[in-house]
């Protein structure tokens, strides 16, 4: 027996949720591109629940906002009064995201709970229910199956929708949060939904990791350096990119400390106050993004920092993004089976 819900009922559920919480779902902009956006109760009709849709942005914005106030400060004579930003405590529903979006959340959890418990991320995570939709069509930028995902990957989701005919969805409830959300809203049925066949896996990520660990200096990096213009668009739509910058804003008397997205593809990212930049060119920046995702993060947190969503490649004006770069590495790695030196050796080489 499966649980089934109609599109109209999902919209109703979203409208109800939006009364006292935040609903984030695919919504078209005026130019027709679809983005995960905050949806007001009266806008639920416009939510696009489509298993073939690829939103331009990622859901990370709702757990790791592009701009967030950490605390405010106020100078009073010789004293400074600090006020913490309130803890996020609004129920939040992410509705209709792709499985490669929800899968980013468990990957991100450890980095926000490692040497420091980031209450900003963690509180949002705790307050959020994620309902994904099983993919009905992969495109040429998708490669979830290369990095352990699939068109019906349930990782990070509390419930997953499978489109059925007649504007109905099969709902598979995955967690307590998912069960609470849909309690009393579904009907029993014998209809079962399906996901599409995933993109054909072609990359050997273990080989890529080995290659990255032994090719800090390689002509490939300068090849990528020419093509990439350092726009950072790839990092902003990436569900797993999570770098931020902390800056103070306001005046000497009164202001706030804020956390803003930062982009490793920008020259400013590592620029020192002295003027020295340890990542002096775009090649070093590309190497950083790819190595972070396929070597450093797996070594430190046990997961590849990429869900194969393809957002970066879909947007990149230079037809780059991560997949074409991985393919190049892959073809080089095929001929190159150098053993990986231990970490302490790697830390001292290439100096």
């Amino acid at each position: 027996m499966s649980q089934v819900i109609s599109l109209a009922d999902i919209r109703r559920l979203a409208a109800d949720f939006a009364q006292s919480g935040i609903v984030a779902a695919p919504l078209p902009t005026d130019s027709g591109k679809v983005f995960y956006q905050k949806v007001a109760a009266e806008e639920v009709q416009n939510i696009v629940l489509d298993g073939s849709l690829k939103c331009v942005n990622s859901i990370k914005e709702f757990l790791f906002p592009r701009h967030e106030v950490l605390y405010t400060f106020l100078r009073k004579g010789n004293d400074v009064e600090l006020t913490d930003a309130p803890v996020f405590d609004t129920p939040q529903l992410i509705l209709g995201c792709r499985p490669c979006e929800s899968a980013s959340l468990p990957i991100l959890d450890p980095v926000f709970a490692w040497d420091f418990n980031d209450r900003f991320f963690q509180s949002r995570r705790a307050m959020t229910t994620v309902v994904s939709i099983a993919c009905q069509k992969a495109d040429s930028d998708c490669f979830c199956t290369d990095v352990g995902g699939s068109p019906e990957n349930t990782s990070g989701a509390d419930a997953i929708l499978y489109p059925l005919d007649g504007d109905r969805f099969e709902v598979r409830l995955l967690t307590e949060k998912g069960k609470v959300l849909f309690a009393g809203k579904t009907t029993e049925s014998s209809d079962v939904g399906h996901a599409c066949e995933g993109p054909k896996a072609t990359l050997d990520t273990a080989k890529i990791t080995r290659w990255l660990n032994s090719h800090f200096n390689d002509p490939l990096w300068s090849e990528l350096a020419h093509q990439c213009v350092g726009c950072g668009a790839c990092t902003s739509v990436c569900p797993t990119c999570h770098c931020f910058d902390i800056v103070d804003e306001g005046s000497y008397q009164k202001g706030r400390r804020v956390k803003n997205w930062d982009y490793c593809q920008s020259a400013l990212f590592t620029l020192h106050a002295s003027g020295h930049n340890p990542r002096p060119d775009q090649g070093a920046r590309q190497r950083q993004r790819i190595t972070h995702k396929f070597a450093i993060y797996p070594e430190k947190f046990g997961a590849i920092l990429c869900t194969g969503c393809g957002n970066c490649s879909r947007l990149c004006s230079a037809a780059l993004g991560i997949k074409p770069a991985l393919e190049k590495i892959s073809s080089e790695a095929a001929e190159d089976l150098m053993p990986v030196p231990p970490l302490w050796v790697r830390n001292t080489q290439d100096k």
């Binding site: 005026d30 942005n57 230079a318 037809a319």
Partner: protein, 290 residues
């Protein structure tokens, strides 16, 4: 045309006229983007089709690319105009670059839709280039007047926006710009945003906050539009790159339209022209300048 382009590229590299041909190539995922041919053997990878949307002129001022040496660059008519602006503004020695102009029937965006800029294009047969590939007579000249271009039902989005009452237009921009994530992709892909240190990156003191708040987003986007007033060639690179899906072309084209209708200035069409914003004329109608 693709074969002709490849032949020309081979010849330029073989005769050592250039060290690199900056053109378009096919990426692993089937998309078309910049390709750098540095020897003859790579020239068969150069492609030309309606997916050659990227404006490659941006690469001419990238330090990583400059290191490759003397360049030939594949340009469409609209891109070639950016080349003229760069030369006019002293950013490159025009004679040091070989511009290969492609006669262009229009390009499509990421979603396969024909780009709006191509509807109002008057530079399908590229001007001010060193080599022309394709038959200039094979493409229409495009709308003859500014009137026809900007108000002839061709750039629908722009016309719709300009027809809005002021307050409504302001509200529309507020909504659109609220999505900006302050990544600066628009700046990075723009061939005319070449400043070594952008005013938006200055932090001693901060001129524009890096926070993606409504006020800072407004400040950033309006500032960039002002810096491009009378300069933007309408290539659409910023709109294509924007991860927030903001129609930045509408902002820049509004100013381009004003530049054309008020001052008769069409950016990148006159080699040697003084920049509109950086020059004045006795005929200017404002008295304060006289």
């Amino acid at each position: 045309m693709q074969n002709q382009l490849q032949d020309l590229a081979r010849r330029l590299l073989a005769e050592k006229k250039v060290d690199v041909v900056i053109g378009y190539g096919l990426s692993g995922n089937g998309r078309v983007g910049a390709f750098f041919a540095t020897d003859e053997g790579q020239c068969d990878k150069l492609v030309w089709n309606e997916h050659c949307t990227q404006n490659l002129v941006v690469y001419l001022t990238r330090p990583e690319v400059k290191k490759l040496g003397r360049a030939a660059i594949v340009v469409k008519g609209c891109d070639a105009r950016a080349l003229v602006v760069l030369a006019n503004e002293g950013q490159l020695q025009r004679e040091e670059v070989i511009a290969i102009g492609m006669v262009c029937a229009g390009v499509v965006d990421e979603g396969g839709q024909r780009c709006a800029k191509c509807e109002i294009c008057t530079s399908r047969a590229p001007a001010n280039v060193d080599e022309v590939i394709g038959d200039p007579a094979s493409v229409p000249a495009g709308p003859a007047s500014a009137e026809e271009r900007f108000a002839g039902g061709k750039y629908v989005k722009l016309e719709k926006l300009r027809a809005m009452p002021r307050a409504e237009r302001f509200a529309w921009w507020k909504k659109e710009l609220s999505r900006c994530v302050r990544c600066s992709a628009c700046r990075q892909v723009c061939p005319l945003c070449y400043c070594k240190v952008c005013v938006a990156d200055k932090n001693r003191p901060v001129r524009i906050e890096t926070s993606a708040t409504p006020s800072a987003n407004f400040a950033w986007n309006i500032l960039r539009a002002f810096h491009l007033a009378g300069r933007c060639v309408g290539c659409g690179a910023c709109t294509a790159a924007c991860p927030a899906g903001i129609d930045l072309d509408l902002l820049n084209l509004t100013l381009a339209q004003t530049a054309e209708t008020e001052f008769g200035a069409v950016s990148g069409t006159v080699p040697g022209a003084l920049p509109l914003i950086g020059s004045f004329s006795q005929e200017d109608k404002e008295d304060f300048i006289q």
